[in-house]
Each structure stands twice: as C-alpha cells, then as structure tokens.
C-alpha cells in the first residue's frame, strides 16, 4: 500500500511541498504509523506533545521523515488530558522513539504503554507536577523557590512580576 493510500481517508492537509499534516484518531494511530514505516517513513524526526488546556486534551504529534520519498509527514492524535495513555511506538521505531517518549513522559506525564524504560531523564529530585503542562505556572514556582521576600536584592521580583 502506498503512503498516500494509507493517509487518504484521514483528509491530509498539504501545507507546502514536502510538508503534510494528518489527524488520526487515537485508536488507529499505532497501525497508521506502522504502515507508514513499512511504506518508507523510516526516520522519526521528533515526537511532541501540545497541552490544550481549554479542550482538555493532549495532542501527540509524530514527525516522520522518509529518506526516499523526501516528505515530512506529521501524524497528530488527541488523547484525554485526565487519562494520558497512548500506545508506544518503540516496537516500530526502536530506541529513537524510546528517548523521545521518555522525555515527554517526564515533561508532560503522558504514559506510553509498552515503552521499556520511562525513568526521569533531565530532572533530579523533582517533586512537582510535570513541568511543561500548561496548568503549572512556572514563574510563580520560580519566585517561590528562588527569590526570597526578605532579601533586599530580590524585592523587585516580588513588587513587579510578569505573568
């Protein structure tokens, strides 16, 4: 099956030459990516998560590149924010998917089912919520943690603070 046929039923959007975006439901995304890998999209450029707080969903984005077709195909899917579980693509892409998923698990708390190792990557002694979520206010956290109210040099940070 050619790659155009695989994505044709999901209404792909062509942004410009070599950039195609497609929305796939959560249940089918693993199969679509597996078929695309067989059709020649062998390079997983990146996996990303966007936190849509108002809609209550996480949008997981897979950027796939093909060395032969020379097209960047972005597969997007939505998972609920209160139950962020998605099937891992490690069986398809191997260790390159593992490291992206491990990072996203730490930063967003998304659980990738089937990933062999989701241990913390960058943060040491972190006890707060996953830091890249939209409902975690960074600047308030930083002000509480690093800028003291009593210290003279930090007073300005408590008087004027940007949101």
């Amino acid at each position: 099956m050619s790659w155009e046929e695989i994505i044709s039923e999901y209404k792909p959007v062509k942004q410009r030459p070599r950039r195609i975006w497609v929305n796939v439901p959560k249940e089918e995304v693993y199969d679509v990516i597996r078929k695309l890998r067989e059709a020649g999209f062998e390079h997983l450029s990146a996996i990303s998560v966007t936190d849509w707080l108002n809609e209550g969903v996480f949008e997981v984005t897979y950027h796939l590149w093909s060395y032969s077709i020379k097209t960047l195909l972005t597969v997007k899917t939505k998972i609920p924010r209160d139950d962020p579980v998605i099937k891992s693509v490690v069986p398809i892409y191997g260790m390159s998917a593992w490291i992206h998923e491990r990072e996203l698990h730490e930063m967003f708390g998304v659980v990738f089912e089937g990933n062999p190792d989701l241990s913390p990557l960058f943060l040491e002694d972190w006890d707060g919520p996953p830091p890249f979520r939209k409902d975690f206010n960074w600047r308030d956290y930083v002000r509480e943690k690093f800028y003291s109210k009593e210290r003279e040099r930090d007073k300005a940070y408590w008087e004027v603070w940007l949101k």
């Binding site: 390079h43 990303s48 950027h63 191997g94 260790m95 990557l121 943060l123």
Partner: protein
C-alpha cells in the same frame, strides 16, 4: 544483567572530565571491556521549550541562539525559519544569502571545535591548538563585524530577514577568512587525518552500521559516515540551497575515523558554498519591514535545518497570540548522545570512550535544552 550488576566495576565518565563536559555516562566494565553503558543527561537543562512560551517572538529569537553554544547561528536560523513559515513570509533574496553564508561559517567553526575535541581525545595537543586557533579567524573576521559579538549573535538571523546588513568590506573579509580556513584544514589533513597514530586510534572504533544508524535516529555527519547519502540541505532545501552546487560526502565504514573525515570534507563543501553565495549575492533590502510586535498567525509549522551535528528541528504551534503556544526543539545530540552512544559503547574498550564520544560531534547543550 540485574543481579550480576555487582560483579562489574562501575566507572562514571564525566561530568567533570576533560573528555566530556556537562554530561555523564555510567559505564559497567568487565576488565577493559564495557558491558553496559547508561547516559545521564540533564546537567544543562534550562527548559527552553517552556521559556519560549513565556516570551514574545523577538525575545525568542535572541533566546534561540543559546540552545547550543557551539553553533548559535544555525539554531537562530531554525527558529527564524519556523516563524517565517508560520507567518507565510517570503524574505528578501539578500537576507537568504546572508543567512546561508553565516550558517556555513558556523558549520565550519563548529567542525573545527569537533576536531579540537578529537585531538584531545587522542592525546594530540597540536591539533587542538591548530583547530581553535584557526577557528578564531572566523570569530574575529566574520562573526564580530557582522553580528556584533564573537559567540552569541543575539538573534542576528531573525524572523523576516537579518538584523542589519553586512559591513561594506564583507566580501574581502570572507575571502581572507576562507583562505585561512583552507590553510588550516590542509594543515589538519596533513597533521591529523594522515597521522598514523590518529588513524590507529580511530579506525575500526565505534562502528555503526547503516541499519543501526537509521534505527537509532542518527542524522547529519554520523549517518553519512555510515553510508546513507542524506542531507537536509539537499533533501528538504531551505533558503537558497536548491540553487547552489555542492556535494554530500559519504563513507561506508561507519567508524570514528570516517565520521571525522566526513567533517573535514564538509568544511571543503562549506567553503565552496560560501564562495558561490558570495558571487551571486544580490543587492537589496536585508529584511522585511520590521514590526515592533509580531502577532503570530494561528497554525503550526515544523522547520528543519542541517546543523553541524545533524538535523535541527523546531516545531512551533500558535493560537494567534504574541507568544507561541508551544515550541518543540528537536536537537540532534539527544539521539546521538543517548541511544547511539549507549549502543556504540557496549563491547568497546575503556580507552576508546573519549574517541567514540567525540566522534559523535555532540553538544550536550542541545540535548538538554
């Protein structure tokens, strides 16, 4: 491995080590042989993706070059490309040429640091002195007059063009620098690449096969040294790369020596690209009419740039605000330093760790972000 782990001697490599700054690999060794390796990143994690959400576009452009200190202008370019694509801007021709020239100079100086690291890893001080010495010609003659600073251009390549036009004597300076760089690389070729000690330390070390390179997500010089002819500049051209003539050096061995060799050949190709771009550079405006505050269009864009160490990508999502809603940075070193390095270290000898580490042309700053 789990219950037998105690039988092996644990050896940390880094973070305070002359071979690897700001990065640690925990090794388990059996005699001289490494049986297990585990990367431990995070010493430079600043949270760029979130910092960019809190700032406006011009501020993000300045922030973008801090992603990797060894090649700031390429990251600048990646961010500017992403915003240009999101806004649908067609930037002036002259700006494209300036961007390409500076990006190639950045690649050259980054590769020279790479060779300096290679020399340190093989105990060859002369190569270190030579590479860094020649790199300074680029910093002093190109980056400082053009961008205003030796290392960080503070957002010189910005969305919509470049910050200001190049100085009047730019062409002479470029030619002088290119001549010096050519001399330097010729020296390195004679002293480093045909040095029998260097060859014996690097040939056949850390062999990465083509299938493994694809599976582990290697890009840039690493995958080209394993025999796959791919380059973002050729396959997914941005700016004016589709009009320029250059070759993509490829080798089949996949060992450390061929990776360094690819870097050396890339410097020659970069010199060729800069000479072509200088000849064709048109007159005209260097930027679109600047706006004080950019209101981003609603939508998303993914830009890819061939940085010196592989594919650099920036994915930007906007809801139509002054600030981006989400920025995802795809650093090449994340893949090179964790899956590729762990794969290459298993079965190799302890003495080869610095060589393998440096042969991947890594920058921990763009891994941690």
């Amino acid at each position: 491995m789990t219950e037998n782990e105690l039988w092996f001697y644990g050896l940390p490599f880094g973070p305070a080590h002359s071979g690897s700054g700001n990065f640690r690999v925990q090794l388990w060794v059996d005699g001289e042989k490494i049986v297990k390796a585990r990367s431990d990143p995070g010493y430079l994690h600043r949270g760029f993706e979130k910092l960019m959400e809190y700032r406006m576009v011009w501020q993000d452009a300045v922030l973008a070059d801090r992603i990797c200190v060894l090649e700031p202008l390429n990251w600048n370019l990646a961010f500017a490309e992403a915003v240009d694509e999101l806004m649908g801007w067609e930037i002036p021709e002259r700006a494209k040429y300036i961007r390409v020239i500076l990006s190639e100079f950045t690649r050259i100086q980054s590769h020279l640091i790479w060779f300096a690291g290679a020399s340190i890893a093989t105990g060859f001080q002369t190569g270190f002195m030579l590479s860094i010495g020649y790199r300074d010609y680029i910093l002093e003659n190109i980056f400082e007059p053009v961008t205003g600073a030796r290392v960080y251009p503070t957002g010189y390549i910005r969305p919509g063009g470049v910050r200001w036009d190049v100085p009047k004597d730019f062409r002479e300076k470029c030619e002088f620098t290119l001549k010096k760089v050519e001399e330097g690389v010729n020296d390195l070729e004679r002293l480093l690449f045909s040095n029998s000690v260097f060859k014996r330390r690097t040939q056949g070390v850390g062999v990465l096969s083509k299938e493994d390179a694809v599976r582990l997500g290697a890009t840039g010089p690493i995958i080209r040294a394993s025999g796959l002819e791919t380059d973002v500049r050729r396959d997914d051209p941005y700016e004016i790369y589709d009009e320029l003539e250059f070759e993509i050096p490829v080798r089949d061995e996949g060992d450390a020596y061929s990776r360094f060799w690819i870097g050396k050949e890339e410097i020659y190709q970069s010199i060729k690209i800069i000479r072509q771009a200088l000849d064709r550079m048109p007159e005209g405006p260097h930027t679109l009419r600047p706006v004080a505050f950019i209101k981003l269009k609603k939508g998303e864009a993914y830009s890819r740039v061939e940085a010196a160490r592989g594919e650099a990508g920036i994915y930007i999502v906007s809801t139509g605000d002054y600030k981006p809603y989400r920025v995802k940075i795809r650093g090449p070193s994340l893949l090179h330093l964790i899956p590729v390095l762990e794969h290459l270290l298993i079965g190799s000898e302890v003495a080869d760790v610095p060589v393998i580490y440096w042969s991947l042309n890594t920058c921990p700053a763009d891994m941690d972000r």
